[in-house]
């Protein structure tokens, strides 16, 4: 009886250090890449470049938060590119028609569109038990087609957008860009939510073992619906930010962007089989992907090698993670050797 206590304390320490190990591997990887790029091009670690990097990665980061929640529940969401396009187009068209619209209303409008989209997907997945990959694949096409239809194929250009609208993305508070502030706020809120609230823990539980969650009385269907609705809302927000940032709304906005978001999330150590993942890992994964996108044009490799390098880096980062984790597990097992 008395030796179970130390054993339990042991495992807690071990599991926490395992997770830290996982991120240390990723962090080391990022540092190494930064050093290598800086050697090639001294303009990499400059204030302007870092600001560009963070602003470009902010939208990716916001989406990664939603995607992490979805993946935690063993799901996936391929439709976010289409959601971005749809909400971006809707808010852009509204601003074109009503130039005096306050920016905050545009943001809310975009989030509402995203919420509607996410809710529909959530119902399909949670209530009708359609597999997430199918549901989001199908709806991706539907919403993309819808974007084409409501825009009539036309783009909304920057001269049709009010200055206030564009300043959503280009403005700054105390010198820090709006986009970065929004992203940080969302991350702080998310970190609190996922670790310290009941619903957050329930999300982990549902992904870890759905049947057990069901049997224990957790509101599994509602939670699954919730993650897709939140993902949709965040994608809707991202749509407004995107369109404001680039000052242009097109029907093919963000085509294929979902793969980048999934890559960032998985790079950050979120397991595709659900139930595990940390916010710090997510931040690192997103930053790594952002660095890749930013650094590749800077180092003078042939633009045709860019994709190859990206793929190799992702594979290397993921494999490194696995090897580090295996190593730490072996160490942990040895510690527990009786």
């Amino acid at each position: 009886m008395s030796d179970t206590k130390p054993a339990i304390a042991d495992t807690k320490r071990v599991s926490r250090s395992t997770e830290r190990f996982r991120e240390v591997g990723l962090l080391a990887f990022i540092v190494v890449i930064c050093v290598l790029v800086q050697i090639r091009n001294h303009n990499f670690l400059t204030l302007t470049n870092i600001q560009d990097l963070l602003a470009n990665t902010a939208i990716l980061g916001i989406l990664a938060v939603g995607m992490m929640m979805v993946i935690l529940t063993r799901g996936i969401d391929l439709s976010i590119g289409a959601t971005i396009a749809l909400s971006g187009m809707v808010s852009a068209l509204t601003v074109k028609a009503i130039p005096t619209m306050p920016p905050i209303v545009s943001i809310l409008e975009g989030m509402l569109v995203g919420l509607a989209v996410g809710a529909i997907i959530g119902v399909t997945v949670a209530r009708f038990n359609v597999l997430p990959i199918i549901a989001t694949l199908g709806f991706m096409n539907v919403f993309r087609g819808l974007t084409y239809l409501i825009s009539g194929g036309a783009w909304v250009s920057s001269y049709q957008m009010s200055a206030g609208f564009q300043r959503i993305a280009t403005g700054s508070i105390f010198g820090v860009g709006n986009l970065i502030i929004i992203a940080v706020v969302i991350y702080v809120g998310y970190a609190y939510f996922i670790r310290h609230t009941k619903t957050g823990r329930q999300i982990y539980a549902v992904g870890s073992n759905p049947e057990a969650a069901d049997v224990s009385g957790l509101p599994r269907k509602r939670i699954v619906w919730l993650v897709y609705a939140v993902m949709g809302t965040l994608a809707g927000l991202a749509g407004v930010l995107w369109v404001a940032k680039f000052a242009s709304a097109q029907s093919d906005t963000a085509t294929g962007y979902e793969l980048s978001v999934i890559a960032a999330t998985v790079l950050g150590g979120v397991s595709i089989s659900g139930g595990s993942g940390t916010v710090s890992g997510l931040i690192l994964g997103t930053i790594l992907l952002g660095i890749l996108n930013n650094a590749l044009p800077l180092i003078n490799v042939s633009p045709f090698a860019q994709q190859f390098i990206q793929g190799v880096v992702i594979l290397a980062a993921v494999l490194t993670n696995v090897l580090v984790k295996r190593n730490s597990q072996r160490i942990a097992l040895r510690k527990r050797a009786i």
Binding site: V130, G138, V322
Partner: protein, 344 residues
């Protein structure tokens, strides 16, 4: 006490037989054809049924092994990039002097190697899901294709090569014949061999299969390697139809292949599905796209229609049969011999 043999087989029922998902697909196929022919007078002709498949059957080659992959419970999103890479290698080597037949073999070899690499990575790093591995290889393979061919096109294949994509044998396009043969082989392997049964077993419960002595590692490697080989086939037919190739061909093929497979009733949770389903789904989506194209439906409307078709059909499937409801794995109970009690 009279002996009772408790059979755990379900009684044969015609109703249940015809309510199978695959029959619903046949029904959808008929409906699609009726709708198409009522929309356009050009649809109902022999040339339609023979020439339309030429455009969608190159993805169909990917659907066949994808069925195996998904039944296993995995997924492979790198197939499009494998197609691109093998096509590019073939074109570049041909234009560098390699005789065409050898270039064709090289294409298949490269594609198979890509698949093999996928399989080996999957087996070596079991912690990683197939999504992330094939995501990484998807980017890498296409990246290599870009490094090789950059922004050029490569082609100018010999005249006989275009018979792959365009040619006929006794009036039937070559691609249909080759696809039919492949589909037959895949169907036989899946349903009639122990290899196929093992795949179902692994899809249902990987750990149990491994402990039952099934060589799960070899099976995974074989399935992914074959996927690579079929991607090579797709590369051959695609480059034959276009007469040239670039690094950016076959983008998005993987998602279409997965959609067709899942529409065919193969569940991504693994362990369920039959080969005839995806084959029917291929023809459904293919003819639907062609038929609607004959009345010049704008591409965005077509997008919405195919998207809705996918979601609605799976929705119906789930509502009818329940999502986690599996057809019970039927064990044949041996009829008890006279004088023997069943539990002895």
């Amino acid at each position: 006490m009279p002996e009772r043999v408790i059979s755990i087989e379900r009684k044969w029922s015609w109703k249940r037989f015809f309510l199978q998902w695959e029959w619903l697909l046949v029904l959808i196929f008929i409906v699609v054809n009726i709708v198409n022919s009522s929309l356009s007078p050009y649809y109902l002709s022999l040339s339609t049924f023979l020439t339309a498949p030429m455009s969608f059957l190159d993805i169909a080659f990917l659907v066949l092994p994808m069925t195996f992959v998904i039944i296993l419970g995995n997924i492979d999103i790198s197939v499009g990039s494998t197609v691109a890479l093998s096509a590019v290698v073939m074109a570049v080597s041909f234009n560098a002097g390699l005789p065409m037949p050898l270039a064709v073999l090289l294409c298949l070899a490269v594609a198979t190697t890509c698949g093999l690499l996928n399989g080996v990575l999957m087996v070596a790093f079991k912690e990683l899901s197939s999504v992330i591995i094939t995501l990484a290889t998807m980017i890498i393979y296409r990246g290599v294709a870009y490094v090789i061919l950059q922004d050029q096109a490569s082609g100018k294949f010999p005249k006989w090569y275009s018979t792959f994509g365009w040619g006929n044998v006794a009036g039937i396009p070559v691609i249909i014949i080759v696809f039919a043969i492949c589909a037959l082989i895949f169907g036989l392997v899946l349903h009639m061999t122990s290899f196929g049964r093992k795949i179902y077993g692994m899809g249902n419960n990987l750990i149990a299969s491994r402990y039952s002595g099934i060589k799960t590692n070899s099976i995974v490697i074989i399935v992914f390697t074959v996927t690579g080989l079929m991607a090579g086939f797709t590369a051959l037919f695609l480059s034959s139809r276009m007469g040239s190739t670039r690094p950016n061909v076959a983008q998005g093929y993987e998602l279409t292949a997965i959609a067709m497979t899942v529409l065919g009733g193969v569940s991504t949770s693994g362990g369920k599905g039959r080969l005839i389903g995806p084959v029917l789904a291929v023809f459904i989506i293919g003819f639907l796209t062609y038929g609607l194209g004959l009345v010049n439906i704008p591409a965005q409307v077509l997008l919405i229609i195919t998207g809705l078709l996918l979601v609605v059909s799976v929705l119906v499937l789930n509502v009818r049969f329940g999502s986690r409801h599996q057809r019970p794995v039927v064990a044949r109970a041996q009829p008890a011999q006279k004088g023997e009690r069943p539990d002895e």
